[in-house]
């Protein structure tokens, strides 16, 4: 046995380092931050309730959820796309397209045929994007930006730029998706809930969901593990298109008429909701549940500020602050430090 020298370090108890430590989150801090989005949500609800007692009125709550449903349904699909490591900026434009098409076909083919035809057309658009991003590996930001513009052009060509209205608004059952209620719950909320739970389970529990996370987390490693990356990305865009078509259906059914720009600008709201929910734009992280919370937060901010009587632009500023705080707390909890360690 060779000689083992004693510890080389100075044996005297060394002065503990006194230098400033980075701010560490305590146990409670970490818990709060990890549930940052829920805490923010709760604070909001409390704040608005104090500011305006009508805020918690069941009718109001129901109303907010109902009008968030359209945005929400779209956000569900975009969550898949974002987790798989891509973006979809075309959902707003595509939703306008879906709405206009289903309204137009309603009068031409009748609702029973109009709805599947519209779904088919929107899924084709989704498949086209999925093909470009998944199989041809084109950059999703630019592809969907291009599609935002192109689909808008397509919608205008389709409608001739005119508003689309159902001729016989009283005599159609088409309004069930947007205006009726089952057991007192508005159908848009039911559809949203149904899709959210279906897609939520799909993402969290099925092999496909696992692959979405893998492809978004590290596409190369996913390929090396035998995952057909292109197919996964393609499917995510199909899911997104399906959600968009559903949103268009609710929208069309809700107002039985629409203009060409009904979905304009929604893409960024949708993205904001998905990010608020904690999905990472790098891909690989996020959940449907959190996206739903993100959607509700946006909806309640809008509604709450309106009730309080603040101008609509105050909502912009508040959304800004909320987004940054929520995401910040979320990552602070993950790294266990409030401030970023980057120099």
């Amino acid at each position: 046995m060779s000689e083992i020298t004693s510890k080389t370090a100075n044996e005297t108890p060394a002065a503990r380092s006194k230098g400033a430590r980075p701010v560490q989150l305590g146990v409670i801090g970490t818990f709060l931050a990890r549930q940052g989005i829920l805490v923010a949500f709760a604070l909001f609800m409390i704040g608005f309730t104090i500011a305006n007692e009508r805020f918690l009125d069941p009718d109001n709550i129901m109303g907010v959820i109902r009008s968030s449903a359209i945005l929400g349904v779209m956000a569900l699909g975009v969550t898949f796309v974002v987790i798989s490591g891509n973006l979809d900026l075309s959902v707003g434009s595509m939703m306008s397209f879906a709405t206009i098409v289903v309204l137009d076909l309603h009068d031409k083919l009748g609702p029973a045929l109009a709805i599947p035809s519209m779904y088919a057309m929107v899924l084709c658009l989704g498949a086209f994007i999925g093909f470009l991003v998944g199989y041809l590996r084109l950059n999703s930001l630019i592809v969907t930006l291009g599609m935002l513009s192109a689909i808008h052009g397509l919608t205008l060509t389709y409608s001739g730029g005119k508003n689309m209205d159902i001729a016989d608004k009283e005599g159609t059952w088409f309004d069930v998706f947007g205006q009726s209620a089952v057991l007192g719950i508005p159908v848009p909320i039911l559809l949203f809930a149904l899709l959210a739970s279906g897609l939520g389970i799909m993402l969290a529990k099925t092999p496909f969901g696992r692959k979405v996370y893998a492809v978004g987390g590290n596409g190369t490693a996913a390929t090396f593990s035998g995952i057909r990356r292109a197919r996964v990305v393609f499917t995510c865009y199909l899911i997104s298109a399906f959600c968009v078509a559903t949103a268009g259906l609710i929208q069309a059914s809700r107002s039985l008429g629409s203009q060409n720009t009904v979905g304009q600008g929604l893409e960024l709201e949708v993205l904001a909701a998905v990010i608020l929910g904690g999905a990472s734009l790098m891909g690989g992280a996020g959940t449907i549940f959190k996206t739903v919370i993100g959607v509700l937060i946006l909806g309640f901010i809008q509604n709450g500020l309106l009730l309080v009587g603040l101008q609509f632009y105050a909502q912009y500023v508040v959304t800004w602050i909320i987004i940054i705080l929520a995401v910040w707390l979320d990552i602070a909890a993950k790294r266990g430090k409030l401030w970023s360690p980057i120099a």
Binding site: L89, L132, L136, R137, L138, N139, L141, I142, V143, L145, G146, M147, L148, S149, A150, I151, H152, G153, L154, L156, T157, G161, G219, T220, T223, F224, R229, L268, L271, A272, I275, S280, L281, M282, Q311, F312, Y313, A314, Q315, Y316, V317, T319, W320, I321, I323, I324, V327, W328, I331, A332, R335, W339, S340, P341, I342, A343
Partner: protein
């Protein structure tokens, strides 16, 4: 490789080839379809092209720097509007009442400071919180826009100063004022990116942020500076543009971020960061403006313009991919 050699430009040449194609197409199509007796490639028309490229061009040049850095800035449209509001409004502030036209440079400085300040806020948040720039600036896109609206309700902010207009409309050596600014900004940024330590660090950080941190580059302050630069450029763009128009709607500059990003990507800069060139972005800006101008020239209607611009964007991306495709033996991942 010393950055900026001829071979790199040739490799990134797709955008210039595309510009040539556009010129040829619109010249020929213009013969048949245009109302104008003048050819598309008329000198004046081309000079106008440069001038009209300036508002988005100046921003896109800054966006290149941000994107090489591996970040993105979605708030430039809102910064553009906010700087414009300050620029036009400050000329009417009572404290400057005695200045006469000397108020102009003061307003310029204030507007540019606004841009730098808003950029700095983004930069600080990115630096201190570690939240991804996409998210920070997506939030700021809304937040700053809210500030613009708050400033003047929903009314446009206006101040038409004819001295300014004359300055903006002037042509020095036949080249418009706005073009001079665009060229100047392009040159300066090109120089920064290829010749200075800051510029080279920008590439390094975008390429491999962890490596840059490990090597002791102070990534946080670096980001801060770059966000201040793009804030400055967004403000400069506003200052140059609103000198000539004198009135800003609170929603002006919306979607500018997307057009700027489009120009940058058309120029071949990768969204992932680490590579890209200022000169190619300049090409990307010209290509987009040329497309708009050309489609107007041949009388395409709104839906066609939307459709064509969207599809061209995708087509260019596709071509670029095909051109840069590695050989058949490449790894299939």
């Amino acid at each position: 490789m010393e950055p900026g050699t001829l071979s790199t430009y040739l490799k990134r040449g797709a955008i210039w080839g595309f510009i040539v194609l556009e010129l040829i197409f619109f010249s020929i199509a213009g013969e048949f379809l245009s109302l104008s007796d003048k050819p598309f490639m008329d000198l004046d028309n081309m000079l106008l092209l440069f001038k009209q490229s300036a508002p988005i061009g100046i921003i896109a040049i800054g966006m290149t720097l941000i994107m090489i850095n591996g970040n993105i800035d979605l708030s430039v449209g809102a910064i553009f509007a906010m700087s414009a509001v300050i620029f036009l409004d400050s000329m009417t502030w009572p404290i400057f009442a005695g200045l006469g036209d000397a108020v102009i440079p003061v307003a310029w400085v204030l507007a540019l400071l606004t841009g730098v300040g808003l950029g700095a806020i983004n930069g600080l948040i990115v630096w201190k919180t570690g939240v991804d720039a996409f998210i920070v600036t997506l939030g700021a896109m809304l937040g700053y826009r809210g500030l613009v609206f708050m400033y003047n309700g929903e009314q446009p902010t206006s101040h038409l100063n004819w001295t300014l207009v004359d300055f903006a409309e002037a042509q020095f050596l036949g080249i418009h004022t706005a073009t001079w600014f665009l060229l100047g900004v392009t040159l300066v940024l090109w120089f920064i990116m290829t010749r200075t330590v800051h510029g080279r660090n920008a590439y390094a950080i975008g390429d491999n942020r962890e490596a840059a941190v490990n090597a002791g580059i102070r990534v946080g302050p670096h980001f801060l500076i770059n966000f201040m630069i793009i804030g400055f450029l967004a403000a400069l763009s506003a200052v140059v543009f609103y000198a000539e128009s004198g009135s800003v709607n609170p929603n002006d500059g919306e979607l500018y971020e997307l057009w700027a990003i489009t120009a940058v990507v058309l120029g071949g800069t990768k969204l992932a960061g680490g590579s890209g060139s200022i000169i190619s972005t300049f090409g990307g800006v010209l290509a987009i403006q040329l497309l708009r101008k050309g489609l107007g020239h041949i009388g395409a209607d709104t839906e066609t313009v939307n459709l064509v611009i969207g599809l061209i964007l995708i087509a260019v991306l596709f071509l670029d991919r095909q051109l840069n495709l590695k050989g058949r033996e490449a790894l299939r991942i």
